[in-house]
Symmetry: C2
Subunit: 306 residues, 2 copies
């Protein structure tokens, strides 16, 4: 971004205000569409999205601790689109695809330790009322889709209290994931591996998100193609990425970067097979990860000395 160009100052307050007032007048009109429908093969109908029901002013979510947020985001924001801070993780939400751009977590050995006071089975998947009704995903979108509601910030990473684990069940933290062979298997292996890194590093920073990668088709041209599910057209990512940074006691950083296809994967494929250079993910995701970190602080990338 040019430092020499004027940039209108924007704050998340503006986002919140804008979204809050959204949808107040369109719904009243319900204009007949003077449309040649053949031109709109699939202009979304969104039958179940009740845009008339505005964002409630009350919510059960407590105001997150701002110093915790600074801790999670210590190494910078990958982007600034629709950022939502929860108590123990931070999301940037993609309103077009109804799936987060990225989810950021900070893990320590203590935060991922088994905690008998926290009961995952008491958690329910709930729509995120902080997101405008037009852009939310709903449980009904996932129903009969064949896809799991796959956590981006893993439930198992947020065990310090019941509230934290509950917040990982917001649908804003979910993406449609293949269940058997992926969400319940290889992706889970990767999540467990990241938790295990807290034994090596006092601090682990983890950024997770979807990718929509192009493929070459029979005509020789490249196409991005992904399914959308439910009345809200929730995007089914073709791949998921995880960029992990371990901070050593003396403040050095070691980075690992993974891309996994959203498909059943043989359990025997080692996780290292999914390592890719971080800039490959950055280009594909349209994001910059840990980019305000001084270059001489990253001592290893994907296990290799830099």
């Amino acid at each position: 971004m040019a430092s020499t160009k004027f940039r209108t100052a924007i704050t998340t307050c503006t986002v919140a205000t804008a979204a809050f007032f959204g949808g107040k007048y369109y719904e009243r009109h319900n204009l007949p569409h003077r449309v040649n429908l053949s031109y709109y093969p699939a202009l979304p109908v969104f039958g179940t999205v009740e845009a008339a029901s505005l964002i409630p002013s009350e919510t059960t979510v407590a105001k997150p601790n701002s110093s915790r947020i600074s801790q999670i985001m210590k190494y910078g924001f990958p982007s600034l689109d629709s950022v939502i801070s929860y108590n123990d993780f931070v999301i940037s939400y993609d309103k077009r695809n109804r799936v987060a751009h990225w989810v950021f977590e900070h893990l320590t050995e203590e935060s991922v330790r088994k905690n008998d006071e926290v009961d995952r089975s008491k958690c329910n998947f709930v729509e995120d009322k902080s997101i405008h009704p037009y852009f939310r995903s709903y449980n009904s979108d996932y129903k009969r889709s064949g896809y799991d509601r796959g956590h981006l910030a893993a439930a198992g990473n947020h065990k310090t209290c019941q509230k934290h684990v509950e917040e990982t069940f917001y649908l804003s933290n979910m993406a449609p994931q293949v269940g058997k062979g992926f969400n319940r298997d290889s992706w889970n292996r990767l999540e467990k591996y990241v938790r295990k890194l807290t034994r090596t590093y006092p601090n682990v920073y983890c950024c997770t998100g979807p990718l929509y990668l192009p493929q070459r088709e029979h005509n020789g041209k490249m196409y991005v193609r992904y399914e959308v599910i439910g009345a809200s057209h929730v995007a089914v990512p073709t791949h998921f990425y995880k960029i992990v940074v371990g901070e050593t006691k003396d403040g050095n950083l070691e980075m690992e970067s993974y891309v996994m296809p959203n498909t059943a994967i043989d359990d025997n494929v080692p996780l290292t097979s999914f390592q890719v250079a971080p800039d490959v993910v950055e280009r594909a995701a349209g994001l910059l990860f840990f980019d305000n970190v001084a270059k001489n602080r990253i001592h290893k990338i994907n296990g290799k000395k830099t």
Copy 2:
């Protein structure tokens, strides 16, 4: 967005700073990919993107007049992702698709009047150096793609001085458009129609952008599918939208909302056939247009009294 949730304050300054420092260290490493390539049918290679060449600190673009920007954006920002302000229009850039999310213009009868001092033929399509090299589009991406570099903010809308029209030729203001039948024909008809609205309204506000609409495929499921061109994988939108608001002398607002498929269109199809309810575009684009406008100020939508 919940007004009750904590939101980290973000400013475009952060974006600028973050992007500026981006790409400083990854390029040095060029790690061998320990990857089972079958899992990555098309992880982008981006051969021609030279990420090592950082954003230059000098640029030929003058600092836009902030009061002009406030005038253009009088009715609010549709979203706040990567906002770039030029002298006579404002863009929100989609770093993943390398095509803007939206482009906002303010037109008056004076600003669109024929001006012999402005010469469009002297303008060149140039890459936008205010965008990080990873996420820019390049002239080489369009070469032999079969698509026009289609203006989002139309060149013909910015005739008050040569600098203004030149700025519309930044590739950040372009999207791959079908040339014959669309960019040079029906889409141009729509652009001319919007200019003509300045004869009816003293102020015309125009927001233009791409859509990536899903279609039902043979298996009964819905898929978003769009081509990407060039080494940078610039997305070819399936449709384009234009949301126009005319402000009358007494401050009333009248809105028109169009969606056109990115395909050759018969010149005889009337523009009104492409009118759709504005919320249909909002849901599909993940944006809210003119949403901070008091509802009783919008007196007409698509020619019908509200």
